[in-house]
């Protein structure tokens, strides 16, 4: 009497199940309390009662050792990933079709696409970035070192993960730079800014040691919204 494995590598007790319960959709829990069941899983050759007693922590397990010291790995807070009240499914990346719906910009919602409305051109800074242009889209564009940034500046450690954003307002055809709540200042034409500030063509934005010149595409001469209306 003992466990067996099915062709898919699942362990089960053939005396409890005529066929592998896990191959039937995994909806069954093997009943380890069934009659005639030996103590413990039957190991190859030596499973059973000869194994040593399970280890017991002194005084049982308090919260201290487990919470503060013993949980290693990437959890900054051991309980950060644990919330029984949350829907805890593994979630696919958000660009999966059919995946979780994501917030989209108003322009995209109305017109079905997110166009370029301007650019930032790097005129000073890390040699890999100097000379490059970054598209600004018809939404709030995050600027920083984070991978998720819309305008990602690498090689300048004086820039925060999320240092600032530039928002485009289609109705007013205006661009606003919004500094984030970070220790690193943002300067427009050499002057530090701490509140949302309107920017105009050829304003120089400085983040860390990186200089970016703002060049708008949408202006009095061109508007995506007007373009879309023409087609209606």
């Amino acid at each position: 009497m003992g466990y067996t494995t099915c062709p898919n590598g699942h362990l089960y007790d053939p005396e409890q199940y005529a066929s592998c319960p896990h191959c039937n959709g995994g909806s069954n829990m093997i009943d380890f309390t069934g009659g005639g069941y030996p103590q413990g899983t039957i190991a190859p050759g030596s499973f059973g009662g000869d194994y040593p007693q399970g280890t017991v922590a002194p005084n049982g397990f308090g919260g201290g050792g487990v919470q503060n010291e013993k949980i290693m790995g990437t959890h900054a807070d051991p309980s950060a990933g644990f919330n029984p009240d949350e829907v805890n499914k593994t979630v696919a990346p958000s660009d999966y079709s059919g995946g979780p719906s994501k917030t989209i910009a108003v322009f995209e919602a109305e017109q079905g696409f997110v166009p370029v409305v301007g650019w930032l051109v790097c005129t000073e800074g890390n040699k890999e970035e100097k000379g490059k242009s970054f598209n600004l889209l018809s939404k709030r564009n995050k600027i920083g070192r984070d991978r998720e940034s819309d305008v990602r500046i690498t090689g300048d450690n004086a820039i925060s993960g999320y240092n600032a954003s530039i928002a485009f307002d289609e109705e007013e055809c205006s661009f606003t730079l919004i500094p984030s709540d970070t220790a690193n200042n943002v300067r427009i034409n050499g002057k530090a800014v701490y509140v949302p500030t309107t920017i105009v063509a050829y304003d120089e934005i400085r983040l860390g040691v990186t200089h970016l010149v703002f060049v708008p595409f949408c202006s009095e001469r061109f508007s995506w919204g007007k373009k879309a209306e023409d087609k209606v």
Partner: protein, 277 residues
């Protein structure tokens, strides 16, 4: 000559006419598995062992345990996880055990990634944890947000990295010397996995470059987030202190299944391997 025979007797330095011998007892592995569907419509977790019940094969080629959690909400989640497990198990049979085992595990994971991507064109995927117990050492490869735990001397250790947006943000913020973690812990996007089987570009799964030596009494648990995100670490430790691996599974299943009516519970799977003589 086998430099690491798994059994036998060896002469111990001593009087020539009195040669005491020491019998070296090889490890055995006490194994159990637990799986449940929760409140989901279908089971999208998959798992499998290789050589679980073959003492001779375990000593010669090791014991492989594989767990995969198909992407919830995606079409093909079950296909992705089954393919992942089948590929790892199949490739393991061809491993050169005298060669670079971590590299072979990573290659198998990359192959599974290519196959699943080819099947589902990026519209499905799976996490992966694969553990190889060979010559009393632990090798592993992982991608995604499933969990690999080691319980040793009464303490629980999470071994593998968690590949999701939340932990990527942790890394970016730490590099930025910004440790205001609370501002990023409650966003919906945080649970999205960043490395997984089926992305088509899996290049850097988590793994041991050098294997971890195992000791008698060590318990290794592979589990999906349906276990680890429901049972807090203290409850897992309590379950793993049970006298048998079957009792450990029974305790965990009872806790996970203790589900208030209507509350969502994900698929859950756990593989338990305890080192013993």
């Amino acid at each position: 000559m086998n430099p690491y025979p798994n059994s036998g007797t060896y002469p111990v330095p001593g009087e020539q006419d009195m040669m005491p011998t020491v019998e070296i007892r090889p490890f055995t592995y006490q194994i159990s598995n637990l799986q449940g569907i929760g409140t989901c419509e279908r089971q999208e977790d998959s798992f499998g062992f290789v050589n679980a019940l073959d003492d001779e094969k375990i000593s010669r080629r090791g014991l492989l345990a594989v767990l995969a959690d198909g992407m919830g909400g995606m079409s093909g989640g079950k296909l992705a996880s089954e393919t992942t497990v089948a590929t790892m198990r199949g490739d393991f049979e061809e491993f050169d055990m005298s060669g670079d085992i971590p590299r072979q595990l990573c290659s198998a994971a990359a192959k599974a990634d290519d196959i699943v991507f080819g099947q589902l064109a990026g519209k499905g995927g799976s996490t992966l944890i694969a553990c190889l117990f060979y010559r009393e050492k632990l090798y592993f490869v992982s991608a995604g947000d499933s969990f690999l735990y080691l319980m040793r001397n009464g303490s629980l250790y999470r071994i593998n990295a968690e590949h999701n947006v939340l932990h990527r943000k942790f890394e970016d913020r730490i590099a930025d010397k910004d440790i205001s973690l609370r501002s990023i812990t409650n966003e919906r996007e945080n649970r999205a996995v960043t490395r997984y089987i089926g992305c088509g570009k899996l290049r850097d799964p988590d793994r041991f470059v050098r294997p971890l030596p195992l000791y008698v009494g060590d318990i290794v648990m592979l589990c999906s987030d349906g276990v680890a995100n429901v049972l807090p670490p203290e409850r897992i430790v309590e379950a793993l202190e049970s006298p048998s691996v079957d009792e450990m599974c029974r305790m965990m299943n009872a806790e996970i299944s203790d589900n208030p009516t209507g509350q969502y519970r994900d698929n859950y799977t756990a593989l338990l391997i305890r080192c013993a003589y």
